[in-house]
């Protein structure tokens, strides 16, 4: 009877991308424990979704560079973490050309989300400017 839990993935040996990805998903996971849970708590426990109109975001939530930077950092961490996780799942269940196609689709979607999220966090006017 093995004592090892099957929850985690054994650290890949040697060099190259696989051990890098193994560490990256754990480091981004630690960051997300703080960033994602803080983000969720602020927007569901302190504020209520009913009041979070577009105006609320420009006038209040994203009216400070700190919270824009916080949410942008969250975006970066979640893109790396979630797409590395989806990559693991695709590689577990899909092989051959379908695997390549799915991974290309995933990486394209990651790039699109990176661009969309960065555009909105950088270009949305600060409160009072409109």
């Amino acid at each position: 009877m093995a004592l090892w839990s099957r929850s985690g993935r054994v650290r890949p040996q040697g060099g190259g991308f696989e051990p890098f990805a193994w560490y990256l998903i754990r480091i981004t996971g630690l960051a997300l424990f703080v960033l994602a849970l803080t983000h969720f708590s602020i927007l569901h426990f302190i504020f209520d979704p009913a009041e979070q109109t577009a105006e609320f975001i420009t006038q209040e939530r994203w009216n400070q560079v700190f919270w824009r930077g916080f949410d942008w950092l969250l975006l970066m961490m979640v893109i790396f973490h979630s797409f590395l996780g989806m990559r693991t799942i695709v590689r577990d269940y899909v092989r051959g050309g379908a695997r390549t196609a799915l991974l290309m689709g995933l990486y394209s979607l990651a790039a699109i989300l990176f661009v969309l999220g960065t555009i909105v966090v950088m270009t949305l006017p600060m409160g009072g400017e409109r």
Binding site: A36, I57, I89
Partner: protein
């Protein structure tokens, strides 16, 4: 494979981690797009927001919050065992500790999210 039974808590912890991860990923895709609309089309964003604030929307937010919190706690459990292998002996106990924290924080949290739907 996902459905092959390999035994007790370890397998369930793994399966829940994977399923919650896929769910959170899907929400992140939706959420980045809806936040983009704040700049691109604020009226459309405000309409989507009404769905989030409705009763079904709030139930889904509790599911999302539960998936996020489970994934976060179990992720810590994985990291603890990865970098402190001796703790692997206690992997079941760690999982039950996770569930205690999950319920102690999660039940009040779920109530805060759902109560505006009942006018409270």
């Amino acid at each position: 494979m996902l459905l092959r039974y390999r035994g007790s808590e370890g397998m369930l912890a793994w399966a829940f981690h994977r399923i919650s991860g896929i769910g959170i990923w899907a929400f992140v895709v939706l959420h980045v797009i809806d936040i983009y609309l704040v700049g691109g089309n604020p009226e459309a964003y405000d309409e989507i927001l009404q769905i989030y604030a409705s009763l079904p929307g709030r139930i889904l937010e509790i599911v999302l919050g539960g998936a996020l919190f489970y994934h976060a706690l179990n992720g810590m459990r994985i990291i603890v065992m990865d970098f402190w292998p001796a703790m692997t002996v206690h992997h079941k106990r760690l999982w039950y500790i996770n569930w205690v924290i999950f319920l102690v924080v999660g039940i009040p949290g779920a109530w805060i999210i759902i109560k505006p739907a009942f006018g409270m």
